[in-house]
Structure formats: structure tokens, C-alpha cells
């Protein structure tokens, strides 16, 4: 509320800056005409120079003559009277005041409405502070670990500590490097390999690269039960077009997992997305996808984006899918989530906005 008062006061002050000279009874004290003054000064200066002996008398005489000539010219007829009185002047003054009173507030408010973030004004500013304080601690910790690692780059344990922090901060590439170093310097461990692989997958926007696949295979070799590694290996199989193999792998993962394991939902969705019709025709044939399968795929995409984030294109695809399925509210929700997730990426936000406009999700503005 206070802020609106401040903005209002600022606007009022700005308008006043224009209205004040318009309202003044302009005492038409004619300025000492600067032109003639200029030449008078010049003549005086020539005199002084001559007195100091900088100029020869003959030179001074010539210079003075010329200055005087110009002085005469400057006092000529071109200095009309100022038109500050009378009816037209009053009308002009009123028009200018109206212009100032309307243009300044309207233009400022409109511009601010379009480009500003007025919703930031009403939000409690205190809400961010504790979070920030916590971040500062985290940041100093990260900085400490970084400088420690810079000194001891072979300290695998340090790398392992910092890697998940990088992940959470969204510095995926750094996380990949950190996990890579941890894997290199620490004794082999299934979980570590799985995390490394996962970071690699995230760095490639969900694509399981050869490198990631190797990491997962290592993990499975060390611990055949590693659910994360098996999950991603199954996904790699999907990418390679080996749908049957993937389905078998997912099914097996599901059967060996406790029912309340956190990954069960994700596995089920992946399985659903490899729906029956597709399996029947095989990857080579033209897949006929039923509405359930589409819904399943969309849900899978949604949960993946929700869980791991994704590119702007993927979010846009999700929005479109919802729109196609007729679930406009979900599409809007997806747009909102996408903006939050991609807030630091201008280009991505643009993609989302374009898609939102295309789908006419106009009320999904933040």
C-alpha cells in the first residue's frame, strides 16, 4: 500500500515539474540579451588584452572594429517580442497543462503496467529475507568447499558433498564435473555411479547418452538392485527403440520395488506411456495410439518435468498436449509452473509466452 502512495507522489511531483513553470506569472523580465552582451564582453576583453600588452594597438583596433560591427548586426530587428500575454497564450498554457496532466501519468502507468512487476509490490518483502539469509550461508559453504577443492582437487569426498548442492542450484554442468571427479577418486559405488549418470542425463535434457549409459551399467554391475540405474537403463532402451526390452525392464523394476517406493509412480507412468497398441504394432509399424495412451504419455511428461525440470520446448509441448486434450486449467497450471522453473532463462520464457498466446491461455500471466 505504501508503495502505491510513493508511486503516486512521484507522479504528482513529475507533473508538478511541468505545471509549475506553466502556472507562474511569467514576469517577462527580458533577459539581458545574450547576443549583445557577448559582443560587449568581447570588446571589453580586447581592451584588457591591449592594456596587458598581449595585443598590438593596431590589432586591437581592427578586432574592436569587427566586434562592434557584429554588435550592430546583433541588435538588429530579428528579436521579436515574446508572446506571453493575451488569449492565445492562455489557451496554449491550458493545452500544455492538460497535456502534462494526461500524458505523464497515463504513459508512466501504462508502461509500468506492461513491463513492470506490480505484483511484487504487494507481496510481503519480509518473506524473502530469511530464505536469503539461508542462501548466504549455503553460498559461503559452497565457496569454502570450492576453494578447498581448488587446493585438493583429488578429494573425492569433497566433490561428492558439493555435487548434489550444484544439482539443487541448477548448475548441472558443474554437478556433472563434480560427480565425475567423485566417481574417479572414490572407490566404486553403485549409488555414486547412478547419481553421476543422472546428472549426465539432466545435462542432456533427459537424453541418456552413451556416457550416462556406461555409468548406469557400472552401477548395476555393482548393485544389481539399484533402482535409479535400472530406471534410466530402461529409458535408454526406449530411446534405442527396444520397447519390449524397456517394458520388461520397467516391469521387473516395478515387481522388485516395495509398493510405496517413491519411484513407483514414475515407473508406472513410463510403462503406461509405452501403451499396449504401440507394443502390438512394434516400433517399426505405424503406431496407433489410443486416447488413454496419450493421456498416459502426457502424464509421464508432466511428472518428469515436475520432478526434474526440462527445456522450454518440453514445457511448451506439455502445455499444447493439455490444450489438445481439452484440459485448459491444467495447461494454464503447466504454463505457470514452466515460468517458475525457467525464470532465469529469457529465451525459454519467451517460448512459453509464445505458446501461451498461441493456445490463448491469456489469463495464465503471472
Amino acid at each position: 500500500m505504501v508503495i502505491w502512495v510513493i508511486l503516486l507522489a512521484m507522479t504528482a511531483a513529475a507533473v508538478m515539474a511541468v505545471l509549475w513553470p506553466l502556472s507562474r506569472h511569467y514576469a517577462v523580465t527580458r533577459q539581458a540579451d545574450p547576443d549583445t552582451q557577448f559582443y560587449r564582453e568581447q570588446i571589453a576583453e580586447i581592451d584588457r588584452d591591449q592594456a596587458r600588452g598581449v595585443l598590438l594597438p593596431s590589432e586591437a583596433e581592427a578586432a574592436k572594429a569587427e566586434a562592434a560591427r557584429r554588435l550592430l548586426r546583433a541588435t538588429g530587428p530579428h528579436h521579436g517580442h515574446f508572446a506571453a500575454v493575451g488569449e492565445p497564450a492562455l489557451r496554449r498554457r491550458r493545452a500544455a497543462s492538460t497535456l502534462a496532466l494526461s500524458i505523464i501519468p497515463i504513459l508512466a502507468l501504462a508502461t509500468y503496467e506492461i513491463y513492470g512487476s506490480p505484483q511484487m509490490l504487494s507481496g510481503p518483502p519480509a518473506a524473502q529475507m530469511p530464505q536469503q539469509a539461508g542462501n548466504v550461508d549455503l553460498m559461503t559453504a559452497v565457496a569454502q568447499i570450492e576453494s578447498h577443492l581448488a587446493k585438493n582437487p583429488q578429494d573425492g569426498r569433497g566433490w561428492e558433498v558439493i555435487a548434489p548442492v550444484y544439482m539443487r542450484m541448477g548448475r548441472i554442468d558443474d554437478a556433472v564435473k563434480a560427480y565425475g571427479a567423485a566417481v574417479r577418486y572414490l572407490p566404486p559405488d553403485a549409488d555414486r555411479f547412478a547419481s553421476y549418470g543422472e546428472a549426465l542425463v539432466l545435462a542432456k535434457d533427459g537424453l541418456v547418452s552413451g556416457e550416462a549409459q556406461q555409468a548406469f551399467e557400472q552401477a548395476v554391475k555393482l548393485d544389481a538392485a539399484s533402482p535409479r540405474a535400472r530406471f534410466y537403463l530402461a529409458r535408454a532402451a526406449v530411446q534405442d527403440g527396444q520397447i519390449e526390452k524397456a517394458k520388461a525392464a520397467y516391469a521387473e523394476l516395478l515387481s522388485t520395488s516395495p509398493a510405496d517406493a517413491p519411484w513407483v509412480g514414475a515407473v508406472q507412468q513410463e510403462l503406461a506411456s509405452l501403451g499396449a497398441p504401440q507394443a502390438a504394432t512394434g516400433p517399426a509399424g505405424e503406431p496407433r495410439i489410443g486416447p488413454e495412451a496419450i493421456a498416459g504419455m502426457v502424464a509421464g511428461l508432466a511428472s518428469r518435468l515436475e520432478a526434474q525440470g526440462g527445456t522450454a520446448e518440453e514445457w511448451a509441448r506439455l502445455m499444447r498436449s493439455y490444450a489438445v486434450l481439452g484440459q485448459r486449467d491444467k495447461a494454464m497450471a503447466a504454463a505457470r509452473r514452466a515460468r517458475e522453473a525457467l525464470a532465469q532463462d529469457n529465451a525459454a520464457l519467451k517460448t512459453i509466452d509464445t505458446m501461451a498466446q498461441e493456445l490463448k491461455l491469456t489469463d495464465a500471466q503471472p
Binding site: 542432456k204 526406449v238 527445456t311
Partner: protein, 152 residues
Amino acid sequence: MTRKQRRLTLIGIAGCVLAVALGLVLYAMNDTIVFFNSPADIQAKNVQPGTRIRLGGLVKEGSVQRNSDQQITFEVMDAQAAIQVSYKGLLPDLFREGQGVVAEGVLVSPSVFRADSVLAKHDENYMPREVADTLKKQGHWQGEANASPKTQ
């Protein structure tokens, strides 16, 4: 001097200076301008040995050899061709194998290039503009957008 003469003198001098400047510019245009070529361009355009050019492309992986006395050789390649580059001096901070590079120097033979300056990208996001354009043209450049995920 009359008014007219003064004016003519002025115009004459201005004309002379401008003519000299124009001559210098035209001459320099012929003589000092360096064309940018990728390894494929060198083959396609049949650039003559002894020509001064800027060569741009990617540094071939594993091709960098450092000899004694800061003498360095590496290969610059694009999608179609590669060319051997020799250079004496310090390489820029961001010179890496597999990354874009622009070298200026003289073509010794159709496959050997002697560089006297080597420029690499200046930060992690920057690919030398000419190199990026050439690669794009050859369809080997994916730009900033990564390969789209195939998960779905």
C-alpha cells in the same frame, strides 16, 4: 587574392586531400584486406599458396602437437576438409581441441598453413562468428539448442 580565388584554393586543397585519401583506400583495399576461408573454401576456391587469409574451423581432436621452442602444429577442420597449421607463440587462453578457432597467416601449400596469430573464443558462450556461420552452412552446427530429447 579575390574571394573567388580563395574559394578555389580551398576547394582545390580539399579535392587533393580527398583524392589522396581515396587513392590510399582503394589501394589498401586491394592489398591489405584478408579474406576469411574455411578449409573447404580453400579447396573449393583453389586459393593460391602465398595468399594471406584468415582460416577458421574447429581444432581437430588429438591433432595438437607442441614442439620445443613454442612451435605448435594442429589441424583445423570443417565438415569437408582439414588443413595443417603451424604456429609459433602462445596460444590464447580458450584454445581447445574440438573448439572453434580463427588463425591468420599465409597459405604455404594447399594443405599447410603458417599462422602468425591465433584467436579463440573469448568466453564459454562465444564461437568465432565466421566459424559458426560456416559450420551452420554445412549443417554441422546445432547452435545453442541442444539436440532435442528423445525420451517421449
